[in-house]
């Protein structure tokens, strides 16, 4: 299958610190790819690079065949990239419906000057689509409630619904189950799988080993800003380097100090 997302030699430095160092991997169209690694490995930086919030210092990023380096985030949304945020970024003063409707913003392109009945029909259509998405994430009983009033798990789902509202080709989920109970994260896992079944490619960043193992088709392991390995979701845990990165060994902990040009 063709690669929907392709990173080639992507690096990002902040000052003298290399947060992401020569990262290359590809995500096949229609798959769920896990991106894991210990804290500070550079996972969120990679997500920010793909979604256009950061510009790589070197390397190339292609989404659906388009070179996206240097595009502003709103252009990337038009290319088909949607994301959620590690620390929830909902519009707190708004209801669930309003949040998801903002995700439908792009649907109004080219229909700016409609007035009267056509405009009304367009609004109704977008409202229906938004309500349908809210129903799919299981929040139809709180459609008109301010998101600030919702529980943490519910807010995470609103964010997923809002990202889905942009009708993306590639969905970047930055720790969608952080702070969730087991039952809640299982629900989110099932949701990700149904979304994926509709043809949306997913890049999932998460610390939840069980979730990643269960739903991902491939897993990329990141450590110190570099790709440690890429493998199937169960095979990846057999790798000694992955075990070392997660559990730590004496050698690993100090490896970056002994080889300054490779560390961060």
């Amino acid at each position: 299958m063709a690669a929907l997302l392709e990173l080639t030699g992507v690096s990002k430095s902040f000052g003298g610190m290399k947060a992401v160092d020569n990262v290359s991997f590809a995500v096949a169209e229609g798959s769920i790819c896990g991106l894991i690694g210990p804290n500070g490995a550079g996972k969120t930086t990679v997500v920010n690079l793909i979604s256009g919030y950061l510009r790589p210092t070197a390397g190339n990023i292609r989404v659906a065949g388009t070179d996206v380096v240097g595009l502003r985030p709103h252009r990337l949304a038009h290319v088909g990239v949607a994301r959620t945020y590690q620390n929830l970024q909902l519009f707190d003063e708004s209801t669930v419906l309003e949040n998801v409707l903002i995700g439908r913003h792009m649907a109004f392109r080219g229909k700016r000057w409609q007035l009267g009945r056509t405009r009304r029909r367009e609004e109704i259509e977008q409202h229906e689509k938004a309500r349908h998405l809210i129903e799919r994430v299981g929040l139809s009983n709180v459609v008109d409630v301010d998101v600030a009033e919702l529980s943490y798990g519910m807010r995470r789902r609103v964010e997923i619904a809002r990202a889905m509202a942009t009708e993306p080709k590639l969905l970047l989920l930055d720790e969608p189950t952080a702070g969730m109970t087991r039952a809640e994260s299982d629900d989110v896992g099932a949701l990700i799988q149904t979304v994926n079944a509709e043809g949306v490619t997913v890049l999932l960043v998460d610390h939840n080993v069980r979730l990643v193992t269960e739903i991902c088709h491939r897993v990329v392991v990141l450590d110190w800003g570099q790709v440690l390995t890429e493998d199937g979701p169960t095979e990846v845990w057999q790798d000694d380097r992955v075990k070392a990165a997660y559990l730590g060994t004496k050698e690993h902990k100090f490896a970056h100090l002994e080889a300054p040009d490779a560390g961060r």
Binding site: H74, A77, Y85, D92, I102, R104, H105, N141
Partner: protein
């Protein structure tokens, strides 16, 4: 229609109506998170455009009334790109510089009669005229508030990075808002010129801007009606009540500002202020219509 008012009351009413238009202009920029100190500069552009067309040419009054907002809007559009690149206090400084540059130009130019201003502008604007313009403005504001653009504006104000990630063109939303706000301020300036028949660069000073800002902040960003109701309420308080003119006026006015800021730190149209009443309404509605798919009871929602 307003013959029952005495001339002072009539004058105060007209002043409040034009002030409302300036408040709308500032609200339009605040709504998308632009902190602009330029509205009075644009009002000056509008006022002088209308005044010059009325006194130096024999064009009809309406030509000036159309040209004023167009020119103010054009100047806004011209300077929006550099100003919108700035952030926070620097954006405020940029808009202040623009406003001051406009006023200095007016003050030193011969065409505008320098610091003396322009007199003898025909008095063409009456209360009915102002009310009609405001009515149209309110309808447009409400249409925009409910449209996809209103939603995008709110998203941009609340969190510009997230809004961008959802495909909203940050620059376009802000550019449109800044330009329209400039045009509205220009219209207010033109109306003011045709009402008082005399304008001078001194009247576009900082004092008037502070009052407008106070009203917009007290009214909040949630809905355009907030700043407008505050404008009217405050005007009534200042001009109508018995303590007007006495030493008590400033004290009561100040105390009121403090109380409102304590009760509603984000302004009176802040959504979170009405959470409880809305919840109550929702439960009331679901009780009356048991056949509809049951909306959430508040107890299930709060966590």
């Amino acid at each position: 229609m307003f013959d029952w008012m005495n001339p002072l009351q009539h004058f105060q009413l007209d002043t409040a109506l034009i002030l409302t238009l300036l408040v709308v202009s500032v609200h339009l920029t605040f709504r998308v998170g632009i902190f602009s100190l330029a509205p009075l500069g644009f009002a000056a552009v509008g006022g002088y455009t209308a005044a010059l067309i009325a006194t130096k040419t024999d064009q009809p009054f309406l030509v000036g009334m159309v040209a004023a907002p167009l020119l103010a809007g054009a100047i806004g559009a011209l300077f929006a790109p550099p100003i919108l690149r700035l952030r926070g206090i620097y954006m405020a400084l940029g808009t202040l510089a623009l406003s001051q540059a406009i006023l200095v130009l007016i003050r030193i130019s011969d065409a505008t009669n320098g610091p003396n201003g322009i007199a003898g502008i025909p008095a063409k604007v009456d209360t009915e005229y102002l009310l009609a313009i405001l009515l149209v403005t309110f309808v447009l504001l409400q249409l925009s508030h409910r449209s996809y653009f209103g939603r995008a504006a709110k998203a941009v104000r609340l969190d510009e990075r997230t809004a961008e990630g959802l495909g909203i063109n940050l620059f376009r939303v802000r550019f449109a808002s800044f330009t329209v706000a400039a045009a509205v301020a220009g219209l207010a300036g033109a109306l003011e010129a045709h009402r008082t028949t005399v304008i001078s660069p001194g009247q576009y000073g900082f004092g008037a801007l502070i009052i407008v800002f106070t009203y917009v902040l007290l009214g909040g960003n949630g809905h355009w009606s907030g700043p407008i109701l505050v404008t009217w309420g405050m005007t009534l308080l200042r001009d109508k009540l018995e303590f007007a003119g006495s030493n008590w006026e400033e004290i009561i006015y100040g105390a009121l500002l403090v109380v409102i800021m304590l009760v509603a730190p984000n302004g009176l149209s802040d959504r979170s202020l009405y959470r409880k009443p809305r919840r109550w309404l929702r439960s009331l509605r679901s009780r009356h219509k048991p056949d509809t798919a049951a909306p959430a009871a508040p107890a299930e929602v709060s966590s």
